[in-house]
Symmetry: D2
Subunit: 336 residues, 4 copies
Amino acid sequence: MIIQFNKDIAPKQREKIIERVESLHYKSTLVTTQKGDYLVGIGKREFDIRELGHFPGIDDIHIVSDDYKLVSRKWKVAPTTINLGDDVLIREGALAVMAGPCSIEGEEQIAKTIEHLKSNGIRIMRGGVYKPRSSPYSFRGMGIEGLKIWHDHAREANIKIITEVMQVSQIEEMYDYIDIYQVGARNTQNFNLLDELGKVDKPVMIKRGISGTIDELLYSAEYVFSAGNERLVLCERGIRTYERASRNTMDLNAIPILKEKTHLPVVADPSHGVGIRHHVEPIALASIMAGADGIIYETHEKPEEAFSDGQQTLNFTESRQLIRKMKEVIDLREKL
Amino acid sequence: MIIQFNKDIAPKQREKIIERVESLHYKSTLVTTQKGDYLVGIGKREFDIRELGHFPGIDDIHIVSDDYKLVSRKWKVAPTTINLGDDVLIREGALAVMAGPCSIEGEEQIAKTIEHLKSNGIRIMRGGVYKPRSSPYSFRGMGIEGLKIWHDHAREANIKIITEVMQVSQIEEMYDYIDIYQVGARNTQNFNLLDELGKVDKPVMIKRGISGTIDELLYSAEYVFSAGNERLVLCERGIRTYERASRNTMDLNAIPILKEKTHLPVVADPSHGVGIRHHVEPIALASIMAGADGIIYETHEKPEEAFSDGQQTLNFTESRQLIRKMKEVIDLREKL
Amino acid sequence: MIIQFNKDIAPKQREKIIERVESLHYKSTLVTTQKGDYLVGIGKREFDIRELGHFPGIDDIHIVSDDYKLVSRKWKVAPTTINLGDDVLIREGALAVMAGPCSIEGEEQIAKTIEHLKSNGIRIMRGGVYKPRSSPYSFRGMGIEGLKIWHDHAREANIKIITEVMQVSQIEEMYDYIDIYQVGARNTQNFNLLDELGKVDKPVMIKRGISGTIDELLYSAEYVFSAGNERLVLCERGIRTYERASRNTMDLNAIPILKEKTHLPVVADPSHGVGIRHHVEPIALASIMAGADGIIYETHEKPEEAFSDGQQTLNFTESRQLIRKMKEVIDLREKL
Amino acid sequence: MIIQFNKDIAPKQREKIIERVESLHYKSTLVTTQKGDYLVGIGKREFDIRELGHFPGIDDIHIVSDDYKLVSRKWKVAPTTINLGDDVLIREGALAVMAGPCSIEGEEQIAKTIEHLKSNGIRIMRGGVYKPRSSPYSFRGMGIEGLKIWHDHAREANIKIITEVMQVSQIEEMYDYIDIYQVGARNTQNFNLLDELGKVDKPVMIKRGISGTIDELLYSAEYVFSAGNERLVLCERGIRTYERASRNTMDLNAIPILKEKTHLPVVADPSHGVGIRHHVEPIALASIMAGADGIIYETHEKPEEAFSDGQQTLNFTESRQLIRKMKEVIDLREKL
């Protein structure tokens, strides 16, 4: 059950409603986000919803049969739009494109990438400054100093920044320099990180776990939302299976399934999803036809010299061609 | 190594070449298909290809580094076209659509389906008369009698038939009534069946195994080809993973990967790939953008009354809409 | 529902019972095996079992909630014993050991293996004469001629033979020369083969599919049983997962789960389960502690020269040591 | 390459060696643990190891071909023993048993569990005070207050404590109250957490990731070791596969494989590995035969009333029986 409170509800009145809900043997969680105040009630007992409906201060009450609640499309049918400012939106019915290198490597690379994005009308740049690496001896990113340099260039060019946050202490450190926090596939169930991301007022994009289920991804989003942040984006990036001809198995089924289950925007990451440079384009275009609200992919001036993920990174010529084709595909999709 | 023989090569001359190949410690397999005579040599020793090149009777020699040989695109770059007659083709650069029920249920159902296909310009009808079922107590199909009735109607309407063959003894029994033999996902590695399908001159479509790798699918095709039948089509139909929100995990990565590895046409089966009726359309359209040469899907006048697979079967209204959209998507793909 | 008929039931009386069952909207299958006559009723409607109980000719009636019926332990609590003659049994509370090469390679190899088995008290020899191979160019086994030679030696030594049957036509061909038909992991859902194996009176061991579920294995056994053969053994041989440090992932959970679900004996195959020679021993011993009724493993005088699977094959010294340890482990298990 | 420094090496001398290593184009990481000082060199160029051997201050140099280094058994063949004090050891050739509830629930539960452990000779108690839960609305544990109560009781009874640490800030908070930090399956690749656990001098047990590979587990251990803590234990707890008859698929292959690859002790968790109460015992006993150095399992006075994981938790009678049987199995294993 989700109760939407009226903005002007008196604290006392809210207390009364909580008491009533708990008297029905529902565990209640009070949620305050950028957009509203909610009471999430978790319980199994059936009761007459009208019992609650007459309480003043309630805007609406929803019975949500899913185990996740606030991210469910069963109570909020209208899609959620993420507004990054300067007319940069992530929303259903359009295509948000995020591109950039796997790792931020230095000022020159940043400048060249931004130039490439600008000249192709791309407004959001991706890149890693903290890199989760299987081996402790691998390059772990330029860190906050790299982010600051990146931010200087991006602001000047009016480009938005999405980058991965790996631990709680980085949230505040990064806050002034980013537009979207990305939660990586190894941290999808890092519940402390999710809890803390619920307390900031910046959008969060959560990648599906390396072998995470669709439901687990929704639950992870529920963590952030129920902790206070409803500016959320989900991302399908391929799952781990027995198949080795590709790096991961891109699960495009997840896109229409997520779009049905949640009101949050859904982005596809074909670079990690297939992991082979010359197959990124067909998987990107397929993702759009499957219903993705955005595409995030890796591009680098010289992929063969990239610090990481070169084998799945497009060069700027390939990237330009992909952007052109994506525009045509999204145009067609909207007309179909 | 693949040696293409000249059509007019004398048997004696062929023998000489085989002897020479085996003297190089290559195991040789002589292959005679509808289209030509080949010698496949399997070995590891390096040798000077010119040694063989001067033998009369040889049209061409190819060193193929893949473990599968005859199905590899490394020697035959031009895509293979499957011609079913009456201008019905399965080929790269177009979209072959195959639609129909999971199970053939009776004359009325056949007639209605054919009418639906005809009115929408679909030339190939799918349907099962022998059904592989996990439980021995489930409906196992109408068998050969059902196929004969189906065939009568299909011929009249100039509709081609694709249906599953489950065992060797059915190959001959079905021969006169079908246009494409389908090898189901449980039989992808039924090597005896593959061997025997190599001896008939009708096209064979091989579905990827339930948890088969892309390479295993190519090897299975190599079985049929090396036994004498090169009229082959491959089909991605989803793989088994831990995810339960969909019936299978449609592996769209497999489509561009297969298109790169083999000259054979590649078809996608979104009905089994996602297994949920209202998600079949986006996955079908995504498959086209991923590069599929064909789409096979399930449709039934009343899916809720279908003998099997109703939950993933489109009704005729949904099917008509899908056909319309697929045409627009393939048009766009060819223009991009 | 399973109805056990009395051996002396009159055909007319049986007909009456079938009619009654079908009048309850249960689909009925009459099963006649080596050991008895059964009527399997598949339906959902609840009814008073006493309605049927008073019919003469019925020995017992069981309501079985599992979807598989005849192989379920819910109606037949006592474990099934497979008697191969000459006091060679496969049964709960003991350990049947089956050992031998992956492929039968020739008379000398057969003789040496038999000598090794005899001197270590092993009564059942495994070996392949028809080999399912991913590539059509690999060695496919010595075929029926190899089996006949093997049979000559085995009979003389009073050793039983288990070998893989790959297709229907081989069932009769092999009949006189084998003691147990093995259905391989690629044929677990080759339903025509299972149907036909239901018609012979020799034991059948069914391996779990390469990515088969435990329930699918039970259903496959139900195929054979319901077609008339209840002399069945199940075999866990590892499943396909994302892990590549081992050939397969041995699913030892499957052993106690199968032992609970079915009355059939359960054998473990550590050679395929782990696929690495020096790890076969611990996995074999672990399988016994998990409750296996038998162990099947690969041994060869010179594994490094074996035609196939050498990397997972024990030499005779390792095999002897394993046999010694298995005896101690089974002794302990029976005392615990 | 791993260089073991002499304890008395002069800082200047160490610098010289590092310079020399880096001049060979090896990336060097200086590691200082409880037990020694190491230089890990990562590079590919071949060089003459004698070049370095003559430097004073070097005790030993090892070329380690594995990608992980410090945890590899290729340089440290002798198994690592973890000494928890009071003669409580985790080491090869013995069996360390850790038992207790999924969640710490309160003082009475703690007392009863400790009594059960004491009377059965178990020295290490498991239990969660911070619980990773898929849903934000589930019980998340008693937190640090619960741990303090637990610690009071455990110290009095001379019982050691292992409990899960979920985030960096908990490391210090927990330090005085625990004996082993457990890294849960959702945090196996939480690299920041691993880095920080490298800085404390308490043992760390790392569980294999939910779908983690064996190599990834070793890399995660390498993180902790290379950050300064070599008191490490690994734990196999089942992996995620397509099979649903068990909660996870216990990968017993991982035990002998890990024992071969690393000198660290390897523990098995049959409770999570199979997830079904009455199958925990056979999987525990099988794990011992597979070579496990320890068993961790869940027990509760009344599993049906446990706050979490009741379905896989043994009651005290079952636990007592398991302990008795484990003793007999480990006795046999050591004699074989």
